[in-house]
Amino acid sequence: MAIAAKGPRTSDVVAQQLRGRSTDVKGIIFQAALLFALLLSLLILLVLIADVARGGLGVFQERGGEFLRGRLTVVSPTTAGVGQGIVGSLLLLIFVVLMAFPVGVAAAIYLEEYASDTRFNRFIDVNIRNLAGVPSIVYGLLGLVIFVQVLAPLTGGKTVMAGGLTLAILVLPIVIITSMEALRAVPDSIREAGFGVGATRWEVIRSHVLPAAAPGILTGTVLSISRAIGETAPLLVVGATTGLLATGGRGFFESFREGYTALPVVVFRWTSLPNEDFRALTSAAIIVLLIMTLSANAIAIILRNRYERKW
């Protein structure tokens, strides 16, 4: 006891050791740099939104719903509107969803669940990833050759159908990749459990793997839809109208084989006009485009949550 009493008490020594260094300067600098990067990107976004809102909200105040119904024109800023752009974008989206979603998910299921791990299949896998990185203008040229020219008897040339198909193959690789990743994230124990009770491969996929992967697949599809909504370059190549667009009393299905325009194309066209009045219209059109994209995302999130609750 006497010896122990001489030196410092154990608890004091340990308490001293536990205190560590006073300040972690490097750590604080690093953290600040990370925060700065985040704030910078947020700031840019905020400036963009503020700028667009400042220029565009006036148009909605002055003209309201009339702007949403108005026609595409480059001569008269008081009557110009985004009506045809909205309709055109929605028609294109129908094509993207109807074509890219089933084909993409089916391709992903094949690659993940059925294809054996051969060199050829790995080659396909790598190249689908490469396709996702191909610039969109290249898809535009592809669409021009295949859908506008070769398949003209079917699509009718520079029509909604040709544009929609072009956007569909543009986003197809993204749908395939995200779906594959969602399928891969489903644990193998689920598949084994299904096989273990005597289910066939298809029954296991349909009843267990796909429902488990559905939230991820839906998220991926929505991301690709958002991309399709904003694409401009390929649509210019495959013939979205940038000028006056004739409208007749046409039915829903006939409209697929008519000329069209789309919201980003409208924005593109108005931006290049020298007339000051079109600046405000451009901002207003961008606001409409943003609202459409965000609504698509919201729908997907609702769908995803509904699937997840079923578990």
Binding site: E192, S207, H208, W311
Partner: protein, 285 residues
């Protein structure tokens, strides 16, 4: 090719008729394995396994890690088919029929030979749907509610879940999940239940319940269980097979071999192979 009577399987044909009058004629084996070897790519996981498995008994496969017991188990219901690089040589006969005949549909095999896995793996669905899936894909036309209740009763889980059948199976405890997996397996009325270390992820109380359950189930099903827990093998099984791994120094690969196969009591009290004795007395593995 009745080569089952080579060295390993001794005392397989013990009399069960006295205890279980309704059982099939005693001595009829459910599985007869002859000269079995399994390869994963170029590497041999097990070799030269010959054994037969008797009906309405619990057969335990024991041995150290990497000795091929799980590989062996997965040969019985062709689960190894799911591993692309796996290849099976030799013969596995099920009630005399070759399981690896080209015309055999593995799906049909797995309807008769069910499996319970190491880690409880309920489907991320309701308790009810977990049980009902097997009968549904098997084309069952009767009352599913009855099947679900009966299966859960047999798996000793009914009283705990009867009021929450529509709730997610993921909310059950680990032991309950494993009993749910057993119930799911029972629901398709298999002939054999394969269990791959069914208690390794469970606490002792849950383990005890599963072991009791196995005793109740063996009147109706033939059970083959892989375990690395020797006490468990001694407690529950009628027959025990001891596997060990032969290490190939050059390739740094292990190949599993069947060392000894006998009545469990014999294996744990008076094994004839020194390696078995070392293992069961805890000097090795």
């Amino acid at each position: 090719m009745e080569t089952v009577t080579t060295d390993s399987p001794r005392n397989v044909h013990i009399d069960m008729g006295a205890r279980k009058p309704n059982a099939r004629p005693s001595g009829e084996p459910v599985f007869e394995v002859a000269d079995l070897a399994v390869y994963y790519g170029p590497f041999r996981a097990i070799r030269d396994v010959s054994m037969s498995i008797a009906q309405h008994q619990i057969t335990a496969l024991i041995g150290p890690s990497g000795c091929g017991k799980t590989t062996m188990l997965r040969c019985f219901n062709r689960m190894n088919d799911l591993i692309e690089i796996a290849r099976v040589e030799g013969s596995v006969r099920y009630h005399g029929a070759d399981l690896y005949d080209k015309r055999v549909d593995p799906v049909e095999v797995r309807r008769r030979i069910g499996m319970v896995f190491q880690k409880p793996n309920p489907f991320p669905k309701s308790i009810y749907d977990n049980i009902a899936f097997g009968p549904k894909v098997a084309g069952f036309k009767g009352n599913l509610d009855d099947v679900v209740e009966e299966s859960l009763q047999k798996a000793a889980l009914w009283d705990e879940v009867r009021n929450r059948l529509k709730e997610s199976a993921m909310g059950l405890s680990g032991g309950q999940q494993q009993r749910l997996c057993i119930a799911r397996c029972i629901a398709v009325r298999p002939d054999v239940i394969l269990m791959d270390e069914p208690c390794s992820a469970l606490d002792p109380i849950a383990t005890g319940r599963i072991e009791d359950l196995m005793q109740n189930l063996k009147d109706e099903f033939t059970i083959v269980v892989v375990t690395h827990n020797m006490q468990q093998a001694a407690r529950v099984s009628d027959m025990t097979a001891f596997f060990t791994a032969e290490v190939n120094e050059e390739q740094d690969r292990r190949t599993g071999v069947l060392v000894e196969y006998d009545k469990t009591e014999q294996m744990f009290t008076n094994p004839s192979d020194e390696r078995t004795e070392n293992y069961v007395t805890g000097r090795f593995g």
